[in-house]
């Protein structure tokens, strides 16, 4: 029984990991783009981005999941009632038909990208102006300065807050069940419902702990690797 439960939970933990991995893959770069937007000297863009980040960070992720899950269907039926059909409606139709996991990934990516963007911004703005000026007087372009001078220093500074956020993501994935993504906690609840067993539900904690333990070690390793210089 124990082995069966373990294997079954492990299998469903893979869904959790998939959601986790895909979210990171897309939200890390998207967050950087959003952070550039929030630091833009073009004020309309800056404020649009800031309001967007405020909305995403200011509402529950669970609510965002629900909006992304039900929203497209509502929009489609609204437009169909009006007899409107265009690219936007098509897009909404596609989203409505999408696998719930895809919907969950989209919502998670947007949510986490906003949090990451603020961490990036903090890191980028903490770099002394002298680093940029040293690059300028050596004839470097802005892009060269960002990638060759600033980026690694930013990475070093943001590893601790990033690890925090990423470990939160591991556990936040369980929210995806509200939009019917079958994952580890749901699988454990089925044991409660079908077999009257409570312990598998508690047992799921071990999977989360093991995975966040691995991540903690990984981040510790990265921090140590980046400790080859100070400053």
């Amino acid at each position: 029984m124990f082995l069966d439960v373990t294997l079954n939970l492990l299998q469903n933990f893979l869904i959790t990991l998939k959601l986790f991995g895909l979210t990171l893959l897309f939200s890390l770069p998207l967050g950087l783009i959003i952070s550039f937007g929030s630091m833009s000297k073009f004020l309309p863009l800056k404020y649009i981005v800031k309001v967007f980040v405020w909305i995403i960070r200011g509402t529950p992720l669970m609510l965002q999941l629900i909006v992304f899950y039900f929203g497209p269907g509502l929009v489609v039926s609204m437009f169909e009632a009006e007899g409107v059909n265009n690219g936007f409606v098509d897009l909404m139709r596609t989203l409505n038909m999408a696998d719930p996991l895809v919907t969950a990934v989209i919502a998670f990516v947007i949510n986490y990208a906003c949090y990451f963007s603020e961490i990036y911004r903090g890191g980028i703005e903490s770099i002394q102006i002298g680093q940029y000026e040293a690059g300028y007087v050596l004839g470097m372009t802005k892009t060269q300065i960002f990638f060759k001078v600033v980026l690694l220093q930013v990475v070093k500074r943001i590893v601790p807050p990033m690890s925090n956020e990423i470990i939160t993501l591991v556990k936040d994935t369980s929210l995806a069940r509200t939009i019917t993504v079958y994952e580890i906690i749901w699988a454990a609840q089925d044991y409660v419902r079908n077999d009257g067993l409570l312990w598998p539900l508690f047992y799921t904690g071990v999977f989360y702990l093991a995975f966040s333990g691995i991540l903690t070690l990984l981040f510790g390793f990265v921090e140590k690797k980046l400790n080859f210089y100070r400053g």
């Binding site: 002394q128 002298g130 680093q131 000026e133 040293a134 690059g135 300028y136 007087v137 050596l138 004839g139 470097m140 372009t141 802005k142 060269q144 060759k148 001078v149 690694l152 220093q153 070093k156 080859f228 210089y229 100070r230 400053g231």
Partner: protein, 252 residues
């Protein structure tokens, strides 16, 4: 012909006028020391020459070529600014070395990015430069492993790596412990012996007196006095210069 000619340079930040018509020129191989109390516009002048600030009015020419003209109201492209900057090197008060790179990589980074030569040649000449500033045994050290004086010498080597026509120093020893200033000043003196054209903003009066060919005393955004070290230090004409020099030397 003068290698550097600055004509009627103005710069203000908001309502504060920091440079109010600066005129001077510099011959090739000359060393110019700029002295004066803080807030007099010395650093702003250097920053305008290096295009870290854009002057409001005036002209800057290098080797007879106008690289900045405040009367031409067209915007200079980033590309052009970068090219113009390369006439100057700048050594900062706070060194501003890149902390994640070794001393050697700090020196080779920009030449490699600008592709001024093959990587092998860049590497070789960077090692030569570090040797020249007395750091041949520190090429593989990170800035955090170096003393302030050593860091500043790496910064000098880094600025020299691009062969600037004019090397500018912005208070190069102000952030250093007194016992470390000597090693940096010796390097600058050695550069003078190799005929480098230099513009040095400094509070080291004795050093300015010994090394400079020409001294400018700046106060409140204007050049209050200009001349040879003996003219400015020994026979200052303006009252402001006299007052400043009295204050500077009375500690001794």
């Amino acid at each position: 012909m003068a290698i550097l000619e600055v004509k009627n340079l103005y710069k203000c930040f908001g309502k504060t006028e920091v440079l109010k018509g600066i005129n001077f020129s510099l011959e090739k191989g000359e060393v110019l020391a700029i002295i004066g109390s803080s807030g007099g516009g010395k650093t702003t002048l250097l920053r305008c020459l290096n295009f870290l600030e854009t002057a409001d009015k005036g002209k800057i020419s290098v080797d007879g070529k106008v690289i900045f003209d405040g009367d031409e109201h067209k915007k200079i492209s980033d590309e052009e600014i970068r090219k113009n900057r390369l006439h100057f090197g700048l050594v900062f008060q706070q060194f501003n070395l890149f902390p994640q790179y070794t001393a050697l990589k700090n020196v080779t980074l920009a030449p490699n990015l600008l592709k001024v030569d093959t990587p092998e040649n860049i590497d070789a000449s960077a090692r030569k430069l570090l040797d020249r500033v007395g750091l041949s045994d520190k090429v593989d050290n990170y800035p955090c492993e170096l003393s302030g004086g050593q860091q500043q010498r790496v910064a000098i080597a880094r600025a020299l790596a691009l062969n600037p026509d004019i090397l500018c120093f912005d208070e190069p020893t102000s952030a250093l412990d007194p016992e470390l200033t000597g090693e940096v000043l010796r390097v600058i003196k050695d550069l003078k012996n190799h005929n480098s054209t230099m513009l040095i903003v400094t509070h080291e009066m004795e050093f300015a007196k010994k090394v400079a060919d020409k001294v400018i005393f700046m106060a409140d955004g204007i050049i209050e006095e200009m001349g040879t070290p003996s003219e400015v230090f020994d026979n200052p004409k303006s009252d402001k210069t006299k007052a400043f020099l009295n204050k500077s030397f009375e500690v001794f």
